[in-house]
Subunit: 213 residues, 2 copies
Amino acid sequence: MRLSELSERSGVSTATIKYYLREGLLPPGERVSATQAEYGESHLRRLRLVRALLQVGRLPVATAREVLGHVDDDSLGRTIRLGAALWSLPHGPDPDEEAPETAAARAEVDRLLDRLGWSTAREIGSLSPVHRALVSSLATLIRLGYPCESDFLAEQARLMHQVAVHDLDMMETYPSGSEQVEMAVASAVLYEPLLASLRRLAQEEESARRYGI
Amino acid sequence: MRLSELSERSGVSTATIKYYLREGLLPPGERVSATQAEYGESHLRRLRLVRALLQVGRLPVATAREVLGHVDDDSLGRTIRLGAALWSLPHGPDPDEEAPETAAARAEVDRLLDRLGWSTAREIGSLSPVHRALVSSLATLIRLGYPCESDFLAEQARLMHQVAVHDLDMMETYPSGSEQVEMAVASAVLYEPLLASLRRLAQEEESARRYGI
């Protein structure tokens, strides 16, 4: 399809598409003449992901470019490719290594991962920004004096594992590796607010069931 | 305890405590002389929550004051008090009523709530900012062309309900109604990033199990 059709089908203006092309967020189309290029379904898909990253995830353009670079790197195995793409998304803050609670939080996360049998997460440890964000959140709870008992954490982690199983099952309904990694990235950005809303709505519902209105 | 001890035990400077007192975020202590007041354990707890709202949740002072006003309003029943406190926290954006996807998203949320049997959430509907944020997230998915099949949503919602059951069980380990509502508010602010990290870590773990490293 031509640029005008890509614009129409995606709902993104031609000026914005040209901007994404210049910024390297969208790969160039196949040139068919000096002034025209041909775009395909993969461009439509990519536009959708770029909008998710920029408009919903509010990622800076440079970060979005880095994420997409990993999505496109099919020299990597699927887990590493997925990991690299997800790791380049914004995360919570890194733990404050000066703070006394950080060591306690890290030990608690290690115990948790051992207990859950999440051996890869345990092995990769602080190399993963996700692991670091988890340690940081837990250190905040400890510092403020809020409870984070192991049983409670393990139970919530098991439920999040079931959520992740559904996430990956959904991802696997997509045919190609590229599409699956694209979907995983979109899912991290788009489904997180959805899950947070579902949790809060479930709290309201459960509260009404327990205590009436 | 005196202000100096409250400062020492909470780790919050006396200047900051005085600022919280002036802003009405912390109730005044019991005056024991013209220049001194006496503070109790409830002040320590409240300081902890104020820091969670301001420092972790990054709430504006006026919003924090509104949230705390609902937490302290024991004229309300527990569900309403909890609801009012949680509703005054920041939420995702309201749905764009001009957008064609919003009606489809709202119908999908209604179907979902019916299917789950969440009758209170269904009844309250768009009165709840949580419900509105959910409709808005779903409308974004539809607009960008990402899937949100009913089966997938229902499965994730059921898991979030289990998360909420654990949340409320934990809340109920606190003795008084006030402490329980305080804990629910802290939980909405502090445990959301923790759950998001657990989900992403679970995705990494599950991906390594399915596809190797």
